[in-house]
Symmetry: C2
């Protein structure tokens, strides 16, 4: 059991803190600029203290987790005062560990690779957790905590983690946006997005069973210019989506020519 001080009360803080308590760790305090957010999160926890300040209330905490938006990390680091032996980790996919240089060999990263929405429960045992630390001692603590939460723990460098985060944005945020576009196209023709559910499920299953490149189907893959032309015409009132269609079609063609 580790004692963990949490900075932040957004989606990541919310999911992570409850999952950490569920496997036996203790959140001692929740720091948030918006005290109301800290108070709200604390209600979900065993015995944490909400606070707006950035000095550590419990000086015997083992770990400070900085789970705030990327652009807020620097300011937190600047103001944060912790005893010399406390490990300090941020949870960002993109930011380097060097942002925490102030904490010397106690600097670390604890990055859960998942998309969090407050209203949807997440099974942490399957969430890849990427850790990095400036010392073996810090790495041991993070490794303990990560493996207590998840079966998938990876030690990645900051450079690797950045590439992983980029690939996650492409694979997930962008795929989700295509589904939103798809729904918009169907809405305009008075059809229901649910019609596509079975196809989306099958497409996802296939891409997890074989390399997605090998699972590619569709008019671009087949080089079916007539269908592509018809689709571009159907999108003529939605020029931005027409441009996306064109670019992704070209990209599929060029990936499969190579």
């Amino acid at each position: 059991m580790y004692k963990i001080a949490l900075i932040g009360a957004g989606n990541v803080a919310w999911h992570l803190s409850r999952a950490l308590e569920m496997v036996g760790h203790r959140i001692t305090e929740v720091h948030s600029r918006q005290i109301a957010n800290a108070q709200l999160l604390v209600k979900q926890l065993y015995d944490a203290t909400p606070t707006q300040q950035l000095n550590l209330l419990d000086t015997e905490a083992d770990l400070v987790l900085i789970a705030v938006p990327d652009k807020a990390i620097s300011e937190v680091v600047e103001k944060l005062q912790v005893p010399a032996d406390v490990v300090v980790a941020h949870t960002s996919g993109t930011q380097s560990i060097d942002l925490l240089a102030k904490f010397g060999d106690k600097a670390a990263v604890f990055y859960p690779l998942q998309t969090f929405t407050k209203t949807k429960q997440v099974d942490f045992t399957q969430v890849p957790i990427c850790i990095e630390a400036k010392s073996e001692a810090a790495l041991d603590i993070l490794g303990d905590i990560a493996t207590s939460l998840s079966e998938e723990v990876y030690q990645l460098t900051s450079a690797q983690r950045q590439v992983l985060h980029l690939s996650a944005v492409v694979a997930c945020n962008f795929a989700n946006h295509l589904w939103a576009i798809s729904k918009e196209i169907l809405d305009q023709a008075d059809m229901d997005f649910d019609l596509l559910h079975p196809l989306i499920v099958e497409t996802t299953e296939k891409a997890l069973q074989m390399p997605p490149k090998d699972a590619q189907t569709g008019p671009a893959k087949r080089g079916d210019k007539e269908v592509i032309q018809k689709h571009l015409e159907l999108l003529k009132e939605m020029p931005h989506y027409q441009k996306i269609y064109q670019l992704l079609t070209e990209s599929i063609v060029s990936m499969h020519q190579a």
Copy 2:
């Protein structure tokens, strides 16, 4: 039980014919320009005859299913000779029913909305089947056959079916391509695409539970310019993917500003 003559021996013909026989219909003959393909498919069927010709061998068939690539349909229609009372349906998402005008009120469409790969079994009970016909009599036969295969049968016009097909290309072919790009990015940094599997599964589940627009997360949604800038830099050696990143990011921003 209906007697069905099949034209084509590709992925759609392959999956559809076996599914039709599994629910009790009979494929009487398989037509293919490549006789070897017809012979191969016939081996999987109960008692069908392979043929290269386009005249109907069994003049008592109830339905001729044209499951060939879009651009081959016109040629098939031109050469195909069938008795006046046989329904003729194509299986294309994009082509109008009017392509089958030669068959008068026996013209029809039978479009299963799914992605087919020979090596992967498909559960047809969950595949939406979109039907259209020029007469009530033809519609009855197609409706019987469709509901014997699937719980999801929809009567759509050619115009609706075209929009549905477009939205399926965007939602599935393009999403799959993003996963292929994502894998390429990870490959170059010696990381495994499997790392993204839990995130892809979660993203898919979310988009099926709520409107995908509401499920959107990521730097573009948050307007996190610093992260976006870092990602564009990481993609500088892959200019085509950089362009895709830029365009989809702009599109997310504009969808969520509106």
